[in-house]
Symmetry: C2
Subunit: 390 residues, 2 copies
C-alpha cells in the first residue's frame, strides 16, 4: 500500500469526522419521509412526511427553548441526546421561508440552504405539490442565468443583476429576443427570481413545450434608494427605481444583449413590492413597457394598506379608468394575479372588477396559496406563456 | 393628497417597521468603524475597527451564552437591552468564515451574508488588506459568470456549474479561449470560487492590466461521489471526480463554449481538497491538462496527514521524480502555492524542494495567511497571470 492510499484513508477518516461535525447540529432522517430538496444534506431532516407535515431537528443540548417559525410558531421537544425535534401540521405545497428560533433568536437552520428573503439569509423548505413539475429540471434544452455588473448613476456604484437567456441564445447570434424585467418582493433582491423563483427552469420547460416564446428575463435589484435592506415602497424608492430602469438597466441590457427594442417587446412585472413597482413605474412608463404584470401586490388594499381607504385607480394613474381605451391601445398585456389565501385577494379582485367595468382590458388569474413563492412561480409561468403573443 | 401618497406613506411606515424587525437581531454601528462589506446591511455591525479588530453584536435577551467562533472562540457580553457584543483581537486581512454560537449551537449570523463553506451556509467577514485591491470591482470591462446545468452520467443527475467568460466573449464570436478548471475545497461547492473567491473580479482586473490572457474559468462541484456534503478526498471521490471531468464536464464545456481544445490550453487547479484533486487527477490526466495548480493542499503533510508518514511523490505518481523530464515536457506550468501560516507550509516547501531537486520544474509561491481564501485569491491571481503564457 502506498502513501497515496494511506493518505486517502486518513483523509477519508477526516472527511467522515468532518461530515459528523457538519451534521452535528442535525440528526438522522425521520422514518417514512423525504429530506426536503432545499436541504444541504439529502440524508438529514428537515424531512417531509406523506401528509406534508415536516419534521425539523436540531442538536442543541444547552439551549433552553428551541422553536421553528414557519408562519406559525412550533415549540420543539428535546430528547436525552440534546436533539430537539418537532413534527409540524401538514403544510401547504410550495416554498416557505422559515426560521430556527434558539432561545428567542431567529436564525437560519444550518441544515437548510439559505436564500435572501425577509431582509436576511433565511432558511426555506420546499414542500412538493402533487402533479406539479413545471419548476423541476427536466431533460430539455437549458438556457443560462448570467451574473452581470453594471454601473448605476442613481446609486453611484456597481450593482449586480441576473439575466436569463433562452436555449440557443449563445449559438444563434442573429436572433433578437423580447425582454421581461421581473422584480422581487420586499426584503428580497435580484437573487429572488433566480433562486427561489426558479425562473430559468420554468422558462426552459415552457419553451420546450412550445407554450412560451423565447425571451430574455432580467432580474435586477429593486432596492434602489437605500441599498439592499428595503426602500422600494417609498416615494423615493419608486422614483429611484424608475430612473434606475430607464437610465441604467434598460440601456445596459439593450447594449449587451440581442434584444428587440420596440416597446411592445419589453415587459415589466414583479411580485408584492415588485408588483407595486410594476403598477406605478410601469403604467407611468408606457413609452418603455408594452406589457405589465402585477403579482400579489398590496397596493389594492389589505395587509399593505392599513389606512383602510379604498384604492382609487383614477387618482393613482390619471386616465386609467376614464381613458381606458388609450391604455388598452398601448398595453399588449395587463396582467394581475394573486394567491387565493392572500389577505390581498379580495381587494385585488375588487380592483380588477373596477378596471374591467371601466373597459380596461385585464388578464386576471388567482392560484391556491398565500403571499408566497408558489403563487409567484405560477404567476411567472402564466405571464410568460401569455406575454409577447401577438 | 391622493391615495398613492397615503399608501406610500403607510408602506413607508411598514417598511420602516420591517427594517426595525429585520434589524432587531443586530444593533447600531459601532463608533469609528466600518461595517464589513460582507454584511447584509451597511449600517450595522459586524464592523471593522482601524486596528482590524471586529465588533460583533446580536440581540438575544433570552440566551444564556452567546459567542463568536472566528477560529478562536470569543464570549460576548450582554447589555441591559439584551444586546450581546464583543470586540475581537485584531484580525488578519482576508475573508474569514465565522459562526454565531447561541447557547452552544453554531449558526450563521443574521447580520452577515452567507456563503457555502464548512458544509453549510456560513457567515463570513471580509477584513480589508491595506493597499490590496486586486479583488475589488473597478471601472474596467467586466466578464460574466454564467450558471449552467449539465447532466452527469456519474451521479445520474443534473448538476450545476459556473463559467466565467472574459470581457468581449459575447460580442466576438470568432475568438477561442483557453480554459482553467478550478476546484473548491472540502465543505464547499461550485459557489466557492464564484462568491468567496471573486474569480470574475480578479480576472477582469488582471485582463484589464494586461497581466493575464483572456481565458474561460470553469467552477464545477467537486463533491462527485456523495453529493454536496463531501467525499472528494476519498478514493471513490477521486475516481468519480476524474470520470466526471473527462466524461461530462470537459465535453460539456467544449461543446457549449468557444474553447481552444488542445491539451496545452487546458489547466486544472484547486484549493485544499481541490488541490489534492488537481495533483492526483491532473497528473494522471496529462492527456487532458497541460497546466496544473495546487493551492494549499494537505497531501504533502500536515493537518490532513495524521499518519505522519513522509510524502513519497514517486510512489504517488510513478515517474514524477525518476522521469521528471517527461513531466516537464508535458507540463506547461506546474504551480504550487500555500499560506505561510498554514500548518501545511513546511511540508509543502519540503515536497517542492524534492520535486525541484529531481529536476521537476515547479513554480512555487507562498503568501501571508493561514488556510483561507485570501491566500487562494492571491494564488488564483498569480496562477492566472502565469498560465497559458507560451
Amino acid at each position: 500500500m502506498n502513501i497515496k492510499h494511506e493518505i486517502i484513508k486518513c483523509l477519508t477518516v477526516i472527511s467522515a469526522l468532518c461530515l459528523f461535525f457538519i451534521g452535528s447540529t442535525t440528526a438522522q432522517l425521520f422514518e417514512n419521509s423525504q429530506p426536503a430538496t432545499t436541504n444541504i444534506s439529502k440524508t438529514t431532516c428537515p424531512c417531509v412526511l406523506e401528509n406534508l407535515s415536516v419534521v425539523f431537528q436540531v442538536k442543541a443540548p444547552e439551549a433552553k427553548k428551541v422553536q421553528i417559525d414557519l408562519g406559525k410558531m412550533y415549540d420543539m421537544d428535546k430528547d436525552d441526546q440534546g436533539i430537539w425535534s418537532v413534527n409540524t401540521n401538514p403544510q401547504v405545497p410550495g416554498f416557505h421561508y422559515y426560521s430556527l428560533v434558539i432561545d428567542g433568536v431567529k436564525v437560519a437552520d444550518p441544515a437548510s440552504e439559505s436564500f435572501y428573503g425577509m431582509g436576511r439569509m433565511a432558511s426555506s423548505i420546499e414542500i412538493p405539490e402533487k402533479g406539479v413539475d413545471f419548476y423541476e429540471i427536466k431533460d430539455v434544452p437549458h438556457g443560462t442565468i448570467s451574473s452581470k455588473y453594471y454601473f448605476s448613476k442613481v446609486t453611484n456604484g456597481w450593482r449586480r443583476l441576473f439575466v436569463y437567456t433562452p436555449p440557443g441564445y449563445d449559438t444563434n447570434s442573429k436572433e433578437k429576443y423580447p425582454v421581461v424585467y421581473i422584480q422581487h418582493g420586499g426584503g428580497e433582491d435580484e437573487r429572488g427570481w433566480a433562486e427561489q423563483g426558479k425562473t430559468d427552469i420554468i422558462l426552459d420547460n415552457l419553451i420546450a413545450e412550445g407554450k412560451a416564446n423565447k425571451m430574455i428575463i432580467v432580474m435586477a435589484n429593486g432596492n434602489v434608494s437605500v441599498g439592499r435592506g428595503g426602500g422600494g415602497y417609498s416615494s423615493a424608492g419608486m422614483a429611484a427605481f424608475k430612473e434606475e430602469m430607464s437610465s441604467n438597466i434598460i440601456p445596459f441590457i439593450d447594449k449587451n444583449y440581442c434584444t428587440l427594442t420596440e416597446v411592445k417587446n419589453r415587459a415589466l412585472c414583479g411580485l408584492s413590492m415588485g408588483g407595486g413597482q410594476s403598477f406605478y413605474v410601469g403604467l407611468e412608463s408606457l413609452d418603455y413597457f408594452g406589457s405589465i404584470g402585477i403579482f400579489s401586490s398590496g397596493i389594492f388594499g389589505g395587509i399593505n394598506n392599513p389606512s383602510g381607504k379604498e384604492f382609487d385607480a383614477e387618482k393613482e394613474i390619471p386616465g386609467l379608468l376614464s381613458k381606458s381605451e388609450s391604455f388598452n391601445q398601448k398595453l399588449k398585456l395587463f396582467y394581475i394575479s394573486v394567491g387565493e389565501q392572500d389577505p390581498r385577494f379580495e381587494y385585488t379582485k375588487k380592483a380588477v372588477k373596477k378596471f374591467q367595468y371601466s373597459g380596461l382590458k385585464v388578464e386576471f388569474a388567482s392560484f391556491p396559496g398565500d403571499h408566497e413563492w408558489q403563487v409567484w412561480r405560477k404567476s411567472l409561468y402564466d405571464f410568460a406563456s401569455k406575454v409577447f403573443k401577438y
